[in-house]
């Protein structure tokens, strides 16, 4: 393939640009949708990864009748004896239903005198430590999303909880916090443990669940087995379980999306086939003249092939550029609901800008060959036109 041919093809495309606009538009739109959806998914996956890395290696939940119930706190003393465990903590937490906005807060009880297993929360505690030390009533530290909601409902300096056992609990709002990924912390309220117990009516010797930290990841499975044998009534969830279930969910969602998209591909294919088959009189004349001046069928095929490559690569990059702008600069309005669902206190996280070249490769290999294959037969039909037939 020589340079002159490429030059000629580009010139001819410039001349006929208006005719190709419909195809370029459809192609660009298709690539745009695909890149958007797949990069939203991979960006959320990245945000989740950050969250998952903060999780403890094992979580022990007591089960009763298929539902999670409160676990006796003194089991900690049995667990800590297992070799390979660096830290065991009970967690007191739950969902607090806020009627005015019809949302659930995640209320996390923290023992402010101890190191928490999440480094992120420790930073917050250190940040507010002087304030914490000087307060002796109930107080809360809220995530950003909650802060906005509370201000909207005129809770500026304090908030009143309804206790499960009846009665109210007034608490001061000490401050807010945010983190690298808002996905997890947006709806979180931190509060001293004893007050959370009071609100949810959890007695002193029980807790919501127990977390276990294991420094050596290769020992996790064995410790998990040991714990399972010690407490047959418990469900032990490891960080790996959570991670792979996330991966599955997102692959599943993008997979379903792609599968649905197959119908769009068929119509795309037909559209292009149809568009490329309809040769106008002018096109036929052009090919006839080219043949008359000595072009071979082979050369015309090459030209058509080049044309296909140029159009598809141009549209691909245009679509990709638009999609990346839409996802990371505009934060993908509408489309991200596909993954996050709709709720009042939806985690207001930022989609972290990552260009996933794997995703781009995937979409490239899906769209560009499809386009070129669709134009294959029509351009062959064009190329075999006889010169004398057209020019006569």
């Amino acid at each position: 393939m020589n340079i002159k041919l490429i030059e000629f093809t580009i010139k001819s495309l410039q001349r006929n640009f208006v005719k190709k606009i419909a195809v370029i538009f459809v192609f660009t739109f298709l690539v745009f949708l695909l890149v958007s959806v797949l990069s939203i998914s991979s960006s959320i996956k990245k945000v989740l990864e950050i969250c998952v890395n903060e999780l403890p290696e094992l979580i022990i939940q007591k089960m009763s009748g298929g539902r999670q119930t409160l676990i006796p706190t003194d089991r900690i003393y049995d667990i800590i004896d297992i070799a390979g465990i660096s830290n065991v903590q009970e967690r007191i937490w739950g969902y607090y239903y806020f009627k005015n906005e019809n949302v659930n807060f995640t209320l996390v009880g923290i023992d402010f005198d101890l190191q928490y297993y999440k480094t992120h929360y420790n930073d917050i505690i250190n940040f507010y430590s002087s304030k914490i030390d000087s307060t002796n009533t109930a107080f809360i530290i809220t995530g950003e999303g909650i802060n906005k909601l509370l201000e909207k409902n005129f809770y500026k300096n304090y908030f009143v909880f309804d206790k499960v056992t009846g009665g109210k609990l007034e608490s001061i709002i000490l401050g807010t916090f945010k983190s690298e990924s808002n996905l997890e912390t947006n709806d979180v309220i931190l509060m001293p443990q004893n007050y959370v117990r009071e609100i949810f009516g959890i007695s002193e010797n029980l807790s919501t669940d127990i977390v276990v930290q294991i420094p050596n990841p290769s020992e996790t499975e064995i410790v998990k087995q040991k714990l399972q044998n010690m407490f047959p009534d418990c469900r032990i969830v490891s960080r790996n379980d959570i991670e792979s279930s996330y991966q599955n969910i997102f692959d599943y969602k993008t997979g379903i999306f792609l599968a649905l998209f197959l119908t769009a591909f068929v119509s795309f294919f037909i559209l292009i086939y149809d568009k490329a088959s309809g040769l106008s009189k002018e096109d036929q004349r052009e090919i006839g003249i080219l043949k008359a001046v000595g072009w071979q069928t082979e050369n015309i095929l090459q030209m058509k092939f080049l044309e296909g490559i140029l159009i598809s690569i141009f549209s691909f990059f245009l679509g990709t550029g638009l999609a990346l702008f839409y996802v990371f600069n505009l934060q993908a309005p509408l489309l991200r609901n596909l993954f996050t669902g709709v709720s009042n206190l939806k985690p207001q996280f930022q989609l972290l800008p990552t260009i996933d070249f794997n995703v781009l490769f995937l979409i490239f290999i899906l769209t560009v060959p499809v386009y070129i294959l669709a134009t294959l037969i029509p351009s062959w039909r064009a190329a075999i036109i006889d010169a004398d037939e057209v020019l006569r």
């Binding site: 692959d251 599943y252 599968a259 069928t297 082979e298 290999i365 060959p369 070129i372 062959w380 075999i384």
Partner: protein, 321 residues
């Protein structure tokens, strides 16, 4: 179920489905040409056949390009799937998770060689005004089509056979000395035998190619290819990873090793492709293909690249692995 709905697998099947449709068209045309083509006739059927031969060769050419891209994509897919399949850490684990995996890889490779030979024949055919090889090249395509179909069938069997619950063994076990797997046994020819054979076959290859001894070029190339793959996993790979226990032909394709594998495989396959094609084209179609220099160039670069790693390791550390 979830492996079939993962995006990469869907894309692989979409591409193969399209290729199936178009290659079937090409196969039908090929059959007609093989039956009725006669350049001395001036009937309209003959005229139509000549026109259709352009379409068929156009499709086949494009199939080759797409197949080369799709085999890279296939390897990438295997690496990606290793996240989901328990026990798999790279493409080896995913390949061994079904019995069909290794055959699928082999068939895919053979197909690329076959399509490549076809393109070479086609180019020779187009150079001549009398189209001397038209009939034989389309007969040959019918043979390729059979391989292409078998690749598709094996691929379908493979992806349906993968069991996400089954724990698979990955590279360190598959290529281990105590292994029972066939692949492991082959790659376990001790290094003091396989590495000299590798260099020996390289030098005989050099000799035959420079002397243009056609009959031996094909055989030595094939021999060289096999021993390149064996020594790459069992010997040279360990120097790239700088770890004596890491035997793996796929991990060199990963980012941790600067994607060096893609270069290595590209040079190895291109070199042996031209080497074998000189022999195949001469033997079956009596075409003289003057690609000796290309073959020599690619193979020498491969050998130099691969030799570089142990030498570098020795110069830096003063010991062999």
């Amino acid at each position: 179920m979830s492996i079939l709905i993962s995006p990469e697998v869907i894309v692989l099947f979409v591409i193969d489905f399209l290729l199936l449709i178009f290659n079937s068209i090409a196969a039908i045309i090929s059959y007609k040409i093989f039956k009725n083509f006669n350049l001395s006739e001036t009937t309209s059927t003959q005229y139509n056949l000549e026109k259709q031969s352009y379409l068929a060769s156009y499709i086949i050419k494009f199939s080759l390009y797409l197949k080369i891209i799709s085999i890279i994509f296939f390897i990438y897919t295997l690496d990606k799937l290793s996240n989901i399949i328990p026990g798999a850490m790279c493409a080896v684990g995913v390949t061994t998770s079904s019995d069909y995996g290794i055959y699928l890889l082999i068939v895919k490779l053979i197909n690329i060689y076959l399509f490549g030979f076809w393109i070479l024949v086609n180019n020779k055919d187009m150079e001549d005004e009398n189209f001397p090889f038209t009939k034989s090249k389309f007969k040959y395509f019918l043979f390729i089509y059979f391989f292409f179909l078998s690749e598709l069938i094996v691929q379908i069997l493979y992806f349906f056979d993968i069991n996400l619950q089954k724990i698979v063994s990955c590279c360190s076990t598959v290529f281990n000395e105590e292994t029972s797997s066939v692949v492991g046994q082959i790659t376990n020819i001790p290094n003091y035998i396989s590495v000299p054979i590798f260099y020996f076959s390289f030098f005989t290859l050099l000799y035959f190619t420079l002397k243009k001894k056609l009959r031996f070029i094909g055989i030595t190339n094939l021999f060289f290819l096999i021993f390149s793959l064996i020594t790459l996993t069992s010997f040279f790979g360990t120097y790239i990873y700088e770890l004596p226990t890491h035997h793996c032909p796929f991990c060199i394709l990963q980012k941790d090793y600067n994607f060096i594998g893609y270069f290595l495989y590209a040079f190895l396959f291109l070199g042996t492709f031209f080497g074998i094609s000189i022999f195949v084209l001469k033997y079956f179609l009596d075409i003289n293909l003057n690609r000796y220099n290309w073959s020599l160039f690619f193979i020498s670069v491969y050998v130099l690249l691969v030799t570089f790693f142990p030498v570098k390791y020795y110069l830096i550390n003063g010991v062999w692995l």
